[in-house]
């Protein structure tokens, strides 16, 4: 009982961490492209999207730290937790793969976060979070447009790009259900008015994806076994390597100022 009560008390903190971890891990993944993109223009665009997400993560961690009230700052939360304590969804930690996989991952995520941030901005009783959401909504509108255009271009372009784009969708679609899941803590945060139920933006997400896929000539695969677990800290093996790299400085030189 005690543990559950404690968890529920921390529901707001936990809900913010989910948002922050999604933004951090996906921003980190996009930053891995830097200097290696298919065109110079795309190198700049991927960095832009990465910067948006890392900026969101920063604001969310800082706010989560205040809500938690234990003196943990943005870097403590971003760099100094254990693998099982990261609560990002599995979609965002998937490795970059080829450019088609990166664009599919970003489209799936942006098609969710764009309406979700809009709903948070409109309904959250937390003014700080609502402020973060209003800014993030605009940023995700760009991600959605940019990646939607690329998915259409690649789906329609050449036989090879169509094959790669369909393969990316086939692989990643199974991770999208987790975006809409409401864990018990998240339900508590919803009941408290911190954020809306992510399930409420599912219909819009489905419409967006269907519209992009129809222009791209892509088929959404039937997902028999959806993949989830990230919100409970159950990640894939790639996540540990991402963290080992990302946390390297903070772990190798503990407690210093940079």
């Amino acid at each position: 009982m005690g543990a559950v009560a404690a968890t529920f008390e921390m529901a707001g903190f936990r809900a913010l961490l989910e948002l922050a971890d999604d933004a951090l891990i996906l921003g980190h993944r996009l930053s891995e492209w830097c200097g290696h993109a298919p065109t110079l223009e795309e190198d700049l665009a991927l960095a832009n999207m990465g910067l948006d997400l890392l900026g969101q993560a920063r604001a969310l961690y800082a706010h989560a730290g205040e809500i938690e009230g234990k003196g943990r700052g943005e870097d403590d939360l971003a760099f100094l937790r254990r693998e099982r304590d990261y609560v990002n969804c599995l979609l965002v930690e998937r490795p970059n793969g080829d450019f088609a996989a990166t664009m599919a991952r970003q489209l799936y995520f942006a098609a969710f976060m764009h309406p979700f941030w809009r709903a948070i901005a409109a309904s959250s009783n937390d003014a700080t979070l609502a402020g973060i959401a209003a800014k993030a909504e605009k940023e995700m509108a760009y991600h959605l447009r940019h990646c939607g255009e690329w998915v259409i271009r690649l789906g329609d372009g050449t036989a090879e790009s169509a094959r790669r784009m369909q393969a990316a969708v086939d692989e990643l679609h199974r991770y999208t259900g987790e975006l809409f899941e409401a864990s018990p803590v998240r339900e508590k945060a919803v009941a408290d008015g911190l954020l809306p139920d992510p399930g409420t933006v599912r219909a819009e997400w489905e419409r967006t994806i269907a519209m992009v896929f129809s222009q791209a000539g892509l088929t959404a695969p039937e997902v028999r076994v959806p993949q989830s677990g990230g919100r409970e800290g159950l990640h894939g093996e790639d996540m540990g390597h991402l963290l080992a790299e990302m946390q390297f400085m903070q772990r190798a030189y503990p407690g210093l100022t940079w």
């Binding site: 065109t39 110079l40 910067l51 372009g157 790669r164 990302m246 400085m249």
Partner: protein
């Protein structure tokens, strides 16, 4: 980031005396030369080579700093570094556009880079081994770039001069950001101080080499000066850089790794020790520690992206075709 004393250019030209003196008169009146203006072939060739090398340096320069984005120690530093490397990509983009006004395409220039025919600044063939290298690069390499590039804002070729004005604002921001990283380290723990000093030790001499050979050995400097592509000699720029940078090192308690460095109160200039030109030549000719890796990485990005670029072209062609079809049908 950065442009280096130009590596190996042939500025010879075959126009008539009259043509050349009319052109020189325009340059001497400080008129900007624009893309469609008549210009000596040697002038065009020098600019294509210089702007191309400069653009390639921005692009290859993304790699050594990109090496630390995923390992930056804090969120603030991670964001600042990603934004900085993105700026360098933007500089590459402006510069390729400036070179395109002289009739050479980005594809052509990229081919030359990947085949090893085109050069880029030797500094990027050194590895970034620790986080302090990110500070040292911003401070020293962007600092050296500014010394080179501020005079280029007055370059006689209009598109290059205008590109440099945009670029210089960002470079000076990068330089301050790099110095600020070094300052944080120099004021930190013993191991941070050691990391900062080690980075300065490794980057100091390569930074001085960025200005190119001594004036006496720089073959085509004089013609570039006469055409006002270049405004100061390699040694003058190197001297300005040393004069600006040594007090910055002293201020944060770091030691410039040159035992022969001394301030000459009469001239107001620093005299520096001998630069290792054997090392410089080795790195420029492909034998630095990272030359092969840099070109391999650029090639790989280019090859891995080929299907994406082909798909974008194919899609655009289909779109254009489908837009013209209804029009034809209506006619």
């Amino acid at each position: 980031m950065y442009s280096q004393g130009l590596i190996g250019v042939d500025s010879s030209t075959t126009e008539s005396e009259e043509f050349l003196s009319l052109f020189q008169a325009r340059v001497d009146r400080e008129e900007k030369i624009e893309p469609n203006d008549p210009m000596p072939e040697g002038y065009r060739r020098t600019l294509v080579r210089q702007i191309g090398q400069h653009a390639h340096s921005e692009i290859v320069g993304m790699l050594p700093e990109g090496n630390w984005i995923t390992r930056a120690p804090t969120l603030r530093r991670k964001i600042a570094l990603l934004a900085k490397v993105q700026d360098e990509g933007g500089h590459g983009l402006y510069l390729y556009s400036a070179a395109e006004t002289l009739g050479v395409s980005r594809e052509q220039m990229t081919e030359e880079l990947l085949s090893g025919k085109a050069k880029y600044s030797s500094i990027f063939n050194y590895p970034t081994l620790t986080w302090a290298d990110i500070g040292a690069i911003g401070w020293l390499v962007d600092g050296a770039a500014i010394m080179n590039q501020i005079p280029l804002c007055r370059c006689s070729y209009g598109p290059y001069a205008r590109a440099m004005i945009r670029v210089c604002k960002e470079e000076s921001f990068h330089q301050r950001q790099g110095y600020e990283i070094m300052m944080a380290l120099a004021r930190g723990s013993d191991e941070q101080k050691e990391m900062a000093q080690d980075a300065l030790n490794r980057w100091w001499w390569p930074s001085l080499m960025m200005f190119g050979p001594h004036d006496g050995e720089s073959a085509h400097g004089e013609q570039s000066m006469a055409w006002k592509i270049k405004r100061f000699s390699n040694d003058e720029l190197r001297q300005k850089f040393i004069t600006a940078t040594v007090p910055q090192a002293e201020f944060i308690g770091l030691t410039v790794p040159d035992p022969d460095l001394k301030f000459n109160a009469e001239t107001g200039l620093y005299e520096h020790g001998e630069i290792d030109w054997v090392e410089f030549k080795a790195v420029v000719s492909g034998n630095g520690r990272m030359n092969r890796d840099r070109i391999r990485d650029r090639k790989q990005a280019h090859d891995d992206g080929a299907w994406v670029r082909e798909a974008a072209l194919a899609h655009a062609a289909k779109r254009a075709a489908s837009r013209t079809v209804p029009q034809e049908a209506a006619e």
